[in-house]
């Protein structure tokens, strides 16, 4: 324990820098993924075949082992941020797509009919009635996706990607030598703390963006 704290003291700046990169790559990837997944979800939620296809494809992507996907991206995109972000965006899609579709479908059709009957255009019904009502479910999907990506981002160290993965990998590959265990533990704990911070942030976002009329 003593050596761990010593290690932390010495490497504090570096660890913080890596943690910041880890958070940033997560935010960017989930952000891009959310835009794509939301758009797809809004387009296919009421078309059974397309909907099933979108969920199936994004789900299939998730089954590709991250090592393999990252490795396959190297020839085309090299190392570092680019293959990392591409892979993370692909992995982020399923939870958000599925929750968007589910959230949109769960909105009471009578409410949508009321909107249409009052003279709202289809676009207005979708954007001003359906999406706000589906939002809590969609936001949960984004939150789950973020949790997933924080974990997978650690593996990006395999392609020299950003974040705490580098520290974990370094430690694990040199186990037995000085500070190796400290590195591995520090990196892992760092990822866990990041995950908790993100989760807390999502709780705040949910409170701020959900209408008071919807809170149970």
């Amino acid at each position: 324990m003593g050596s761990f704290l010593e290690y932390l003291q010495k490497q504090y700046d570096d660890l913080l820098q890596l943690a910041w990169e880890h958070a940033l790559v997560t935010i960017i990837s989930v952000g891009i993924g959310a835009v794509i997944a939301l758009t797809v979800g809004i387009l296919v939620w009421n078309k059974p075949v397309s909907r099933a296809g979108a969920v199936a494809i994004t789900g299939a992507i998730l089954t590709i082992p991250s090592f393999a996907l990252l490795g396959l991206l190297i020839p085309a995109f090299g190392l570092g941020w680019t293959p990392t972000v591409i892979a993370l965006v692909l992995y982020s899609l399923l939870p958000i797509t599925r929750n968007t579709v589910v959230g949109m479908r769960e909105v009471d059709p009578a409410i949508l009919e009321a909107g249409t009957g009052l003279g709202m255009s289809p676009w207005t019904v979708t954007m001003r009635v359906q999406l706000p009502l589906a939002w809590p479910v969609i936001l949960t999907g984004i939150r789950v996706s973020a949790q997933l990506i924080i974990g997978i981002a650690a593996i990006a160290a395999y392609v020299l990607g950003p974040g705490l993965g580098e520290v974990i990998f370094s430690g694990l590959s040199r186990l037995g030598s000085a500070n190796a265990l400290n590195q591995a533990i520090a990196g892992t704990v760092g990822v866990i703390i990041l995950a908790l911070i993100f989760d807390a942030a999502f709780v705040l976002v949910r409170r701020l963006t959900t209408s008071r009329g919807l809170r149970a």
Binding site: G117, G119, S121, V129, R212, G213
Partner: protein, 334 residues
């Protein structure tokens, strides 16, 4: 659509349905088969019939929530099919069975939807919202900023009606609007709405499966069979006195005479003058129906009853008068 004044004095538009039909793909028979009817401005027409007869489908074709397969809909002479459906609907009030208030908006925002869609400025909209909440007996300052989930079913239904009335449309479509409440609340809502309609006189199509409600609410009733074929389209009294066929009779049931008496207020009946010899008789207020008067007569075992006005007795109603009110319309298989 006619321009409306903020005070809400615009009257209804006429509605003409010509061979209106809805055929769903793959179905053997049309859901609605060539419905034709003519509704003058300001009339409240009730569509009544069993589930599945197409009454709601017919109503929903008027604002093109369901697109007609063929036929014409003329609103104030204008072909509804030639208008942009979104524009059309902003000129038609729409109240559905499930109410459908927007849970994420306040009551005020819900009621303000159509005015905002029409581009009314905030001041005018806010004033109109308060006016409407008042009309449906909800105190604006208490309810304006609440959310639907905080309201009871009856209150939500009132908001639904207010929301439909917001832009003062000349036409209203109402699908079992008071259905989702208990009988006591429903009766109160019906009475309040009748009082309101008396002032605003919009053209209203009101769908219900409840024949009693139809009798109470309608200026005219369209009794519909399957595929919305019209069995009879007439005033409540005409239907009760002279049902067109057995199908209509089955709605009327056995109590036609009593129901007809329920349509007439004591105040409109000829009364004998009140004298000293009437002091021992039972009495009733003048705003009850002949049916209730009959109940008092039979219950008290009397053939006369005193009718009270706001300042005292105004006359005496006799049993003979009550029964004679039934003559004059149809043979009465009462």
């Amino acid at each position: 659509m006619p321009d409306t004044s903020p005070a809400g004095s615009a009257h209804g538009a006429s509605i003409e349905l010509i061979d209106l039909t809805k055929q769903y793909e793959g179905a053997a028979e049309p859901a609605v088969d060539k419905v034709s009817m003519s509704i003058p401005p300001g009339e409240l027409v009730v569509f009544v019939g069993p589930s599945g007869c197409g009454k709601t489908t017919t109503m929903k074709m008027i604002n093109r929530i369901i697109e007609p397969t063929s036929g014409q809909i003329l609103i104030d002479g204008q072909d509804a099919m030639s208008l942009d459906p979104v524009e059309l609907r902003r000129g038609i009030g729409y109240v559905i069975q499930q109410i459908g208030l927007f849970p994420h908006m306040t009551i005020g925002e819900n009621v303000a939807v159509v005015p905002r869609l029409l581009g009314w400025d905030k001041k005018r909209t806010a004033a109109r919202v308060d006016e409407l909440l008042d009309i449906v007996s909800l105190d604006p300052s208490s309810f304006r900023d609440r959310y639907p989930r905080q309201l009871s079913g009856g209150q939500q239904q009132r908001v639904g009606v207010a929301r439909a009335l917001a832009a003062d449309p000349p036409v209203m479509l109402m699908d079992e609007p008071f259905g989702a409440t208990d009988p006591i609340t429903r009766e109160r809502l019906q009475n309040e709405f009748l009082r309101l309609q008396n002032e605003i006189r919009k053209t209203i199509i009101f769908v219900t499966h409840d024949f009693e409600e139809a009798l109470k609410m309608g200026d005219r009733i369209a009794v519909l069979r399957e595929q919305s074929h019209i069995a009879q389209f007439a005033t409540p009294d005409q239907i009760l006195a002279d049902p067109a066929d057995e199908y209509v009779s089955s709605f009327v049931g056995e109590g036609a005479a009593l129901k007809r008496l329920g349509l007439v207020s004591v105040g409109t009946a000829p009364l004998q003058s009140w004298g000293e010899d009437a002091s021992g008789l039972p009495s009733i207020p003048s705003d009850v129906t002949l049916r209730e008067a009959l109940g008092v007569l039979v219950g008290a075992g009397s053939d006369r009853v005193v009718v009270r006005g706001p300042d005292g007795p105004i006359g005496v109603l006799t049993m003979a008068t009550v029964t004679s009110m039934l003559e004059g319309a149809g043979d009465g298989d009462c």
